[in-house]
């Protein structure tokens, strides 16, 4: 399986966020996306899963299911944890694994992997920020998908949990998975390639010929 992007560009709210982004990640590889605040790290991840429109360029997933979009084959761990405070830890995980089409049989395993099995019956409202994040990570383990897009996965996690997350990611890569992570810090993975988003959009994109200008006006 290989995820590749060719000459990808992003516009949000009439502003060029990035342009000319190329990368290619194969099974078992990870890519750390770096850049200053506002460089478009999150936008790039959201673009891959189809939550932000591709302004120009191409995204493709070789070896995936051609019937499904990339987003339908990927896990996205965003800034928000997608948890309902009135549901318990187990119920939250149950919901997402049922929604993404997994069976509920093995939900204890993911909870144990992130160290939340003792809190399974606690309403999610009582969880700390780090625990909420760990519960979101359990979602990635409950439903098997090979492409993981992680937005600042280590934020709010304590040192022990960061090590645990690195182990989980390493195991995912060993099983042939792909990880794209937007991050400022270290991921703790053995060999991660880096994609650095430019500080300013390349001038070629701003003052382009006819085609580019038309795009800006629309």
């Amino acid at each position: 399986m290989r995820l590749s992007a060719t000459d990808l560009a992003c516009r949000r709210g009439g502003r060029d966020v990035f342009a000319g982004v190329n990368f290619s990640v194969a099974s078992g590889e990870s890519l750390a996306i770096r850049g200053r605040n506002g460089a478009g790290k999150s936008s790039l991840l959201r673009m891959v899963v189809g939550l932000v429109r591709v302004a120009s360029g191409r995204l493709s997933l070789e070896g995936g299911d051609p019937e499904l979009t990339i987003g339908e084959q990927a896990h996205y761990l965003g800034h928000l944890d997608a948890l309902k405070p009135s549901l318990s830890v187990a119920e939250n995980l149950q919901f997402w694994s049922a929604f993404f089409g997994a069976d509920n049989a093995g939900l204890n395993e993911p909870l144990r992997a992130v160290g939340l099995d003792a809190l399974a019956d606690l309403p999610a409202a009582y969880l700390s920020a780090g625990q909420r994040r760990r519960l979101s990570i359990a979602r990635l383990l409950a439903v098997k998908r090979s492409l993981w897009l992680l937005d600042e996965p280590t934020s709010t996690l304590d040192a022990a949990a960061q090590v645990r997350l690195a182990e989980i990611m390493q195991a995912h890569l060993a099983g042939g998975g792909i990880i794209l992570a937007a991050t400022h810090g270290a991921l703790g993975l053995d060999d991660t390639r880096e994609l650095r988003l430019a500080d300013t959009p390349p001038p070629s994109f701003v003052e382009e010929d006819q085609g580019g200008r038309e795009q800006q006006e629309t």
Partner: protein, 222 residues
């Protein structure tokens, strides 16, 4: 089917827990209807005449009450991103959320209506007709409301906009709902005529609502 069942049960579970909308809607309905005899006075003939209209109005307002958080809550906590990434078509997911919302807020109104109708001097046949019209008509209110809820999803004070957008669209449902309920207690027209139109309005809204709401959600997530 599994993702849809998951959404249905999750939404209903949230609605009946602390802070959910299920109890609020029906309590609001009961309180508003209870206030009417105090405002109008103990004129039994008058109460009997305006009863169906009051109950329908209160049901309309009550079913709008919890609607603004229907998609906004999922948007605010990031669930909507994941729902959009799911393999289930968004239109069907939206319709499922509508069904869950109706089961947890609309159906209790239908059940409470004959009981609270006693305070408006509603007798047996009138109450039965009213329950029937509410049973058929409240799904239309919910599904028309889906459109407003989807449009208001990114707005901070979406509830107000929702009411302004949705209430005019609910006018036909209100007209034929009240007409059918009145016809059953000896109006000049037969019960069947307005009731059939009410059924048609509901069927149309069941189709149009999810598609329009899904389109609005897709537009707003850009």
């Amino acid at each position: 089917m599994k993702p849809l069942a998951a959404i249905l049960f999750r939404d209903m579970r949230i609605a009946v827990r602390v802070g959910g909308g299920a109890l609020m809607g029906v309590l609001f309905f009961v309180v508003v209807v209870t206030l009417v005899p105090f405002a109008l006075g103990p004129d039994l003939a008058l109460l009997k005449r305006v009863g169906p209209a009051i109950l329908w109005l209160a049901a309309l307002l009550a079913s709008l009450l919890a609607l603004d958080r229907l998609f906004a809550a999922d948007h605010d906590d990031g669930s909507l991103d994941l729902i959009l990434m799911g393999r289930a078509p968004l239109e069907i997911v939206v319709a499922t959320k509508g069904v869950a919302h109706w089961l947890s807020t609309g159906l209790p109104l239908v059940i409470a209506a004959p009981l609270i109708g006693l305070s408006l001097n509603l007798d047996g046949p009138a109450a039965a007709a009213l329950v029937l019209t509410l049973l058929v008509g409240t799904p239309a209110l919910t599904f028309i409301g889906l459109i407003g809820a989807a449009i208001a999803v990114t707005l901070r004070r979406g509830g107000l906009l929702l009411a302004v957008l949705v209430l005019p669209l609910c006018v036909p449902v209100l007209i034929f709902g009240v007409a059918a309920a009145n016809a059953a207690v000896g109006g000049p027209i037969p019960f069947g005529t307005p009731f059939t139109i009410l059924c048609a309005l509901t069927l149309a809204s069941l189709v149009v609502g999810p598609f329009a709401a899904a389109a609005a959600l897709r537009q707003e997530m850009e």
